[in-house]
Amino acid sequence: MEGAAAAWTGAEARTLPEAIAILSRSLPDGPSPEIFRRAKFNRPEAAPALWRLLFRVLSPLREDCAAALLGPGDQAHWVKVVLHSYGYPRPALAQLPEDGSQGSRELLLAFSWLMARGPLLEWVLSQTCMRLGDQVPTCECEALASPGLAALQVDAGGSVDLRFLQWLMGKLRFRWRSLICSQQEQCALLSKIHTYTRGCHRDQNLGHLSVTETKMLRDPEGSQKLLQALEQENARLEAALEWRRYELVFWKWMDTVLGACPPECHAVPTFLPRIPERGNGELELLARELQALQEELREQVLSRRQAWETQVGGLGCGPEWHAARQALEQAVEQELLALRRSWEQDRGPSLFEGPHRLAKIKAGTAGSQGLPVAEVIRALRSQEAILEVMLCWLQGQCRQELARLAGAVPQLIWILPPGC
């Protein structure tokens, strides 16, 4: 222990190894404490483990999906991209080779940077926690299909017929319909299982078994693995709770790690060029939409204000009128504040991005701790309304544009489809 302690610097040499050990225990597949120590001295053998750790922490997928998709080099590249998009301040990261041969100190700094910005440990634990209960399906597969993670594999064929696109769209619509159907069926089955097992769970809040638990009883062979995983998670949670007492030591040590870095060389790094149209396209579209809205509102307000002035001009300025006006103004202000809050408030991750567990209760009983589904439905309906508005507006823009283009050609009659 003496030799290892001597390798650490700082006054709290005794508790630093403990702190690192606890950190390592709290991470899923966390690197060993030795890795952290070597990373301070930028030893190359520590780099692959830290790349893996960063990938694990940053990727939105569960571990089995993510690792299967990308090789280590691609993982490293992806980590770089994500860290850059989060605003990682040090350019040295982008210069690291992606084969995992060096850069462990920079990776350690990157990891600590993430830890310092927010509750990383709790978040990782939450994302990787065991889902013993039943969930509404999440969009994990969306991330899977996003070109960010999966390589964009497109045949370098010739030109594409538009009818092929139409066919693909139809196929997509059909798939969604059958997806919704299957989902309805799954919900019905879930509901049955929950009803039939009511009263089995010791936990009063839950009251019934989930599919995973029922399956475990049905097929006991898998229960050993479940139990092991559960116990591993418990160990990580205990470590995370302890970590809060040791954190300060870790941060003091990280200051020394940062100090051990050589000063930056200010060479301009060579990066991949940004692809400007993507981001700017979105902003352009949004700007157009907002400007169109502004224009409409301006017209309406102008005409109504004029009408109002001419109409009301004769009413006079009696005290009741004044009081009524003030009351109205306040009421409108409150409403508009509420409106603003409705879009500013929900910035956080939606409910479905985190783990949740469905529990069936008797209608009318108040759940002691839990979110009633009615609230979630309300939130989803407002999301739905917003998206429909957005889609409608986009389609309207297209219609206008196409009409404009077709209008340039004389003698054309467009007969719109029925139901338009």
Binding site: V136, P147, Q183, T197, R274, A324, L336
Partner: protein
Amino acid sequence: MLRGDSGRRLVAELQGALDACAERQRQLERSLRVSRRLLQAWEPAGTSALEPPPGSGTKEEDPSPACTPSPQDFKELELLTQALEKAVQVRKGVSKTGKKTRMSSLQSGTVAASPGTTASALPQASSQAGHCSSRTRPTKGIHQTVVPAKDHPEHRLLSVRDRPHAVHIRARGTRLEPSHGEQMTPSASPHAAETFTLKEKGTLLQLPLAFRKAASRNSCLWTQLNSTQTSDATDATSAAKTRFLQKMQMASSTSSSRFSAVEVEMEVQCLQKACALLRLRMEEELSAAPVDWMQEYRCLLTLEGLQAMVEQCLHKLQELRAAQTEQLPGPCLIGRPLRASLPCGSRVCTSWGPQLLLYSSTQELQTLATLRLRVAMLEQQVHLEKVLMAELLPMVSTQEPRGPAWLALCRAAHSLLCEGGERFLTILQEDPAD
């Protein structure tokens, strides 16, 4: 008809969307299989060949209704299993000798979780039920009645009991006394299958002890993790973290813009939402017919307020534009923008760990799930619409000459862009007069 690059991009996007759907469908099918299997009768693990074909399991009743064991059978089964449990307890207890004879006649009833044991003998109607039944013997052939070897009754029952994962039957011994005697008559009468269905016996299940302990420890730990979070790190730790972040920032020579790419993304989404909500509200106000001057004035005030908010949004947008242009060049992803997944300092998650969602009816759950899918579908549609717009509109506007091929392109573009590919319009071209 489409040039190579844009065509490829569109095909790739649509194909990606299709693949995402297919993946969801696969996951859903997996879950459906699991759930259906659980709702059917629970066969012992070894008899996998006896699983009925997957298509038949959707109903809660047995797959072949003609062979449904009567409710009477189920009652008898339940009483039998209760009697067994009682007998096991008694056997564990003081008197062993007297019960052994009963045990040997009881040997047949084991629950399906123990592999290798199958259906068992069923005693005659109990007086508790009040009527004597003629049991229908299930003829579907799946539930073969194999009477376990009478030599090892105790072993089987012990093995059921001792295995930590076995299904434990909750003792309801008190009710059994009157009928206990009746049930013990060993019967050589035709056996009906004893099967375990969730519908009938679900409430008898119990999770194994080790699992229960681990699960309760788990929820306890999550609660602790959430509760100590509010008191949060000590001031010293927070200060240390802030110092570290500042040093990291200074150590880099370049000055970064106010917003990182992910933050710009989030703000843009926020503004998109704002725009949609403002538009919705505006349309509400415009369609309302004011009855008196107060309502009219209120409408006017609201519209003016909305106008002010739109201006603020536009201003914010300018800031974001500026932030985006002054951002450092760096590695970036081609394709869809990355969803911000990590919590930043400003966003605080109130509770970690599994959160409970309470529902009270199947209808509610279905509504929730459908809405969730619909929102995901709409998000995808909006994204596809933007992509299609970016590719198709320029093509329509630049293609010359404006002949029949161009008209076909227009028509196809209109259907894809304005109708979601669902409907088509008709284009008529008048012939020139001469």
